[in-house]
């Protein structure tokens, strides 16, 4: 037992009474905050919403997935082969970990969901087979033609209308995917392809979120001022305090050398890790463990003790 306390005079106290009274006060305080201010809730964005409000962007996203040129198709690990998003010299955790959660956007975001609609749209199988039996060059030609045509597309009654052209089965496939998107069943069709989910139970929402992330969620976040560069993580899209305890982490991203670095996440995570290591080892680090003596806040904290007890001694 630390003998250091024995030299000090003592006074009556009741730890459990203190805790119970504090707990009651804290419960009342938090309950009042909850009743007055509630808590932040903004409905999530659904794929159906995206398909109805932005049919052209929906089809462009789908084309990126089909052509394997989209954000997720070219992401690299952990979703597919390819270069890492980030590495620092030989430090390349993305490559080390490999394809932990593989995603084939062509199959899983376009072809498979379309196949799942066969029982309500039997003709889709004909178009998919036509597409798959054609040479890769022909597929690429149709895809490129349709993708270019999308830039000149018009929206008529929520459908995307492109000028006539040589699109093979692609235009039918993509407009069928848009119809699936609008129906509200597409999220389920995307989830069905995630390893670990089955036909009945879904816990892993990876693919529905990855499909939405590029255009749909970025547009939403831009509108709500939630982008990373706007300290999005620490503030809600409503007038509520966010997770402000992440301020240090989020702040790092805004300043050099992190801001301009292509490996910003690696650098920031490394810095946060080192900061915690510093805090853990603080009692043993010279100079740092003397800061309380250099900045004598303790004199304020124990001012009564210094005034009363020591003057008597």
């Amino acid at each position: 037992m630390d003998s250091i306390q024995i030299h000090y005079k003592t006074k009556e106290s009741d730890l459990f009474k203190d805790l119970i009274y504090t707990l009651i006060a804290v419960i009342i305080f938090i309950a009042i905050l909850s009743l007055i201010f509630k808590s932040p809730y903004e409905p999530p964005m659904s794929i159906a919403q995206f398909a109805k409000a932005n049919p052209k962007e929906f089809e462009q996203t789908a084309m990126g997935d089909l052509m394997q040129t989209g954000e997720i198709a070219t992401y690299g690990p952990p979703y597919n082969r390819g270069a890492s998003q980030q590495s620092l010299g030989f430090i390349n955790p993305e490559q080390w970990m490999g394809q932990a959660t593989p995603v084939n956007t062509k199959q899983e975001f376009v072809i498979n969901p379309l196949k799942m609609t066969e029982s309500i749209n039997p003709s889709i199988i004909y178009y998919i087979q036509w597409f798959q039996k054609s040479s890769l060059q022909t597929q690429k030609m149709w895809e490129t033609n349709y993708n270019n045509a999308l830039q000149k597309a018009k929206i008529v009654n929520g459908d995307v209308v492109v000028p006539n052209g040589n699109y093979g089965p692609v235009s039918y496939m993509i407009s069928s995917l848009l119809a699936l998107g609008k129906s509200g069943f597409m999220a389920r069709a995307l989830d069905a392809n995630v390893p670990g989910n089955n036909s009945t139970y879904t816990y892993n929402f990876q693919n529905r979120l990855l499909f939405l992330q590029g255009t749909a969620l970025t547009n939403l976040a831009t509108k709500e001022n939630m982008l990373g560069s706007q300290m999005g993580i620490i503030k809600y899209n409503a007038a509520y305090p966010g997770p402000w305890w992440l301020t240090y982490y989020n702040y790092l991203y805004l300043f050099p050398p992190f801001a301009a670095s292509p490996a910003a996440d690696l650098l920031v995570f490394g810095t946060v890790f080192l900061t915690f290591l510093l805090l853990i080892l603080l009692p043993y680090i010279p100079i740092l463990n003397r800061i309380p003596y250099y900045i004598p806040v303790y004199k304020l904290i124990w001012r009564n003790y210094y005034k009363n007890e020591k003057s008597k001694a």
């Binding site: 006074k11 899209n237 009692p283 124990w302």
Partner: protein, 199 residues
């Protein structure tokens, strides 16, 4: 070796119930800064109890019930109060050099509590079921991918997040907080810095 006897002897040696639960405290304990830790603990209790109620009724109970939304709000504000007083507790203990006199382990466990609490609340944010959660899921996954954590924790896998947020991390936190409080009681509250023996 008799393990039971070894454990009993260790407990006898380390645990003096009169020291652990004293009815007297040193006179230097006379500032409101001593409330910061206890308020942090009280708000943690509120967060855990509101969490118990929420998971007992199902993840999206708050979507269909105003009582559910009330407990969701209790959970939300409880976390705000928790981190507010955790920060004050951390800062005051730092300026009191609270690691003195063989209390370094107590400090270190406190830092680990903060670390686990930050990760725990981050997973909570991703499980809120709104657009803020959605956006932060796809944003944060890039950072997690970059550092290779996704092999162990896929932020887009809500099933995994739920298990960790509801069971694994709260259990670790409760254990760490228990050890932290035990050590604070066992070592006694850190005495004032004396001018003549700086350190």
């Amino acid at each position: 070796m008799n393990i039971t006897k070894a454990i009993r002897d260790k407990i006898k040696k380390e645990v003096d119930i009169d020291e652990i639960l004293p009815d007297k405290l040193p006179v230097y304990v006379s500032s409101f800064v001593y409330m910061f830790g206890i308020i942090t603990l009280a708000s943690l209790i509120v967060v855990i109890l509101s969490g118990f109620i929420m998971v007992s009724k199902g993840v999206l109970w708050y979507q269909t019930s105003s009582l559910g939304f009330f407990f969701r709000s209790m959970h939300f504000w409880g976390v705000q109060v928790f981190f507010f007083f955790l920060t004050l507790h951390f800062l005051t203990i730092f300026f009191m050099a609270g690691w003195r006199g063989g209390r370094a382990i107590t400090w270190i466990i406190g830092i680990f509590i903060a670390m686990f609490a930050i990760i725990e609340t981050f997973m909570g944010i991703l499980l809120q079921g709104g657009s803020f959660a959605q956006w932060n899921q796809v944003q944060a996954k890039d950072a997690f991918n970059a550092v290779g954590i996704t092999s162990f924790l896929n932020l887009l896998n809500n099933g995994q997040l739920e298990g960790l947020h509801f069971v694994v991390f709260p259990s670790i936190l409760v254990l760490l907080v228990g050890i932290h409080i035990f050590l604070v009681r066992q070592k006694g509250l850190v005495p004032p810095i004396e001018d003549n023996k700086n350190g």
